[in-house]
Structures are given as C-alpha cells and as structure tokens.
C-alpha cells in the first residue's frame, strides 16, 4: 500500500515536470515564431490604401500643431457607373484638418484606388460614409458634444445625405500628448 502511494507520488511528480517542460517549450517556440501579416482580401488591401492618405494628413505641420479634435464623416459619392463623383468631409470637420487633407501629398492615384475598391465591392449609385476621428492629447482630449456639433457630423454644407448609403469601417486615431499615434 505504502509502495503504491510512493509510486503514485513519483508518477505525479514526473507528470507535473513533463507538463511544466511542455509549457516552457511551447512558450519559447511561441516567442520565436515568425509572424505572418494578417491575411487580407483584395478589397481590404484597397481599403487600407484609401485610409493611408487620411491617416497621414495628420503629419501636415499645420495640423500637427493643432489640439482641436475632429470627429467627422467622409462621404464618397459613387454614381451608377461606379465612378467617384465627390469626396467631402461633413461640416463637423476641423477646417485645419480639411485643408491638410486637401493639400496632402499624393501617394498614388487615390480616385483610381477608390474606384477599384468600389468595383471589387460591386457598389453603384451609393454614398460611402467613413467616420474619421482624430483625438489629440488622448486621453485628456477636448470633449465637445454640443447639439450643433452632433448635428454637423451628419451634414454636408448644411444638408443631410440622401439616397442609399453604406457605412465603412471607422478610422479612430488617438494622438498622445507627445504627438505619437
């Protein structure tokens, strides 16, 4: 009986040691593994290219100096042939940000990228709405949620959107007090 208990104890100790070794090995191999970039569809890749110039508008020196938050919606109007006919931020957008976006460096033919995206998604005769926010001095950013401000988020030149709309994934960008995103 005593021998059995001792044997059992030894088995338990060996098992526990083996389990610990397995944990260590798997943790070491997890640290050493290489990383595959996230698998993306063709349209996801195009969407990333659409987001890139908006993201980098922040780096325009005039906008980098501002601490005014922006919460706005970019409206991209697509006609029945799948062509881009207008791109505008809603009225809530900070004017310095809008200027920075309009004067941004051109990385590639952005309209062409948008139209490839629209074609890949089979969108026609629709307005694409992309919420965009820049929040400087996060987490102590200026909070401005007045009624007028809220209303202006969904207005373009004081007019609401009409017709079919599709909401795109949002771009929420926090900017830390030291300027890092």
């Amino acid at each position: 009986m005593v021998k059995d208990v001792i044997k059992m104890n030894i088995y338990l100790k060996i098992s526990a040691t083996l389990i610990m070794l397995l944990c260590i090995i798997s943790s070491v191999s997890a640290q050493n593994k290489t990383f595959e970039l996230p698998k993306q569809s063709y349209s996801d890749s195009l969407y990333a290219r659409i987001c890139t110039p908006i993201y980098f508008s922040f780096y325009t020196p005039s906008y980098m100096a501002t601490t005014t938050p922006t919460f706005t919606i970019l409206k991209i109007e697509i006609n029945s042939q799948g062509k881009v006919i207008a791109i505008n931020f809603s009225d809530s957008a900070d004017s310095v940000f809008v200027k920075a976006y309009k004067n941004r460096k051109k990385y590639d033919d952005e309209i062409s990228t948008l139209e490839k995206y629209v074609k890949a998604k089979l969108y026609t005769d629709v307005s694409l709405l992309m919420p965009v926010s820049f929040e400087p001095k996060y987490p102590n950013s200026v909070k401005d949620f007045s009624y007028d401000k809220m209303e202006s988020i969904m207005q373009w030149n004081k007019k609401e959107v009409v017709g079919r709309v599709i909401m795109l994934p949002s771009m929420n960008i926090r900017i830390l007090p030291n300027g890092n995103m």
């Binding site: 640290q31 290489t34 990383f35 595959e36 970039l37 996230p38 993306q40 996801d44 890749s45 195009l46 969407y47 990333a48 290219r49 987001c51 890139t52 993201y55 980098f56 780096y59 020196p61 980098m64 100096a65 460096k105 990385y107 590639d108 996060y138 771009m171 929420n172 960008i173 926090r174 900017i175 830390l176 007090p177 030291n178 300027g179 890092n180 995103m181």
Partner: protein, 181 residues
C-alpha cells in the same frame, strides 16, 4: 544628418533592420533605408515614414525615413536605432497594404523580437554597457504606448521590470546608452 544620428546609421543598421524583418515576418523582401531630416517634426515625434513604398523590379523596398533633427542628435544610439527599426516596420507594413490604423497593434506583438535585435546591435547584459532584456524591451515599446494592449497586458505578457517611462527618458534626454560626446 548630425553626428549622433550618423553614428547610429554607421552601425550597419540596414543589415540589422533587414534581419529583423526576416526574423519577424519571414520575408525575403529587402529594405533599402535612407534617412532625411529636412521635415520639421514636432517634439515627441522622433521619426516618420510616409508611403509610397512600392517594391522595385527586384521586389525590394526603397524606404525613406524622416528623423527629428531637433531631438535625436542629443539621444543615445540605442534610442535612435529603436526609432529607425520602428519606422522600417511601418514602411514594410505600408508596402504590404496593412491599414495604418492596425500597425501599432501588430508591432506590439513583436516587442520581444525588436528588443532582441537591439541586443544584437548593442550587446546584452553580459557585455559592459549592453542592454538588459528589460531595457531592450522597454526601448522597443517606444511609440507603442497608444495601443490598447500597452496599458492592459503588455507589462504582464512581457514580464517587464523597470518603468517604461523611466527607461525611455534615460536613453533619450538622460545619460544612459552610447553617446558621442
């Protein structure tokens, strides 16, 4: 480019960054890095890499990294190398159409690898003046403090000792690390 930054670039950082990219992403794509300091960056933004980064005929990437000419010349080589590494990873991900919004969240998973690369460049704790694992990882976390996982899980996941802020300050405006003067 000022003396301190040149000294870091002369540590064969091109080769080291390429090794990091291969280790992290198992990529055969090579990066040819070049550096400019002609764009004014605000305090706290030590570097920036803008698109495009289209592969050349051989599939390699020509990457131009903008460095902050006001702050970096006074910082340690270890800190400057971290900035270059961070920006090179951005360039690689932009070239692979990873949405800029997601890039820091991807990068934060590879802080261990980035820290190991810094130790390859500057030596580990067994070398006089080398970087301990904690120093290297806290340095590699630079620019990633805006990610969701930074505040919630990163210190626990990495079993980090030492204060992120204190180590960042010590290797930048402090006196730790390799300096020219």
């Amino acid at each position: 480019m000022k003396k301190m930054v040149n000294a870091t670039i002369n540590t064969d950082i091109n080769t080291k960054v390429n090794k990091l990219i291969q280790d992290v992403f198992a990529s055969s794509q090579k990066l040819h890095l070049s550096f400019v300091d002609n764009v004014p960056l605000p305090n706290g933004v030590e570097g920036q890499t803008e698109p495009p980064h289209e592969p050349d005929a051989d599939g390699n990437l020509n990457v131009q990294i903008q460095l902050n000419s006001n702050s970096l010349p006074n910082y340690s080589q270890e800190f400057i190398a971290t900035v270059i590494m961070h920006e090179a990873l951005h360039a690689f991900m932009l070239a692979n159409n990873i949405n800029p919004i997601s890039q820091h969240n991807i990068m934060v998973k590879y802080v261990g690898k980035m820290g190991a690369s810094l130790q390859t460049m500057f030596g580990n704790a067994s070398v006089p003046g080398g970087l301990s694992d904690d120093d290297a990882r806290n340095l590699a976390l630079g620019g990633l403090s805006g990610t969701d996982s930074f505040k919630t899980s990163i210190a626990t996941d990495l079993k980090l000792l030492g204060s992120f802020e204190a180590i960042q300050l010590a290797f930048s405006i402090g006196s730790r690390g390799k300096r020219c003067n």
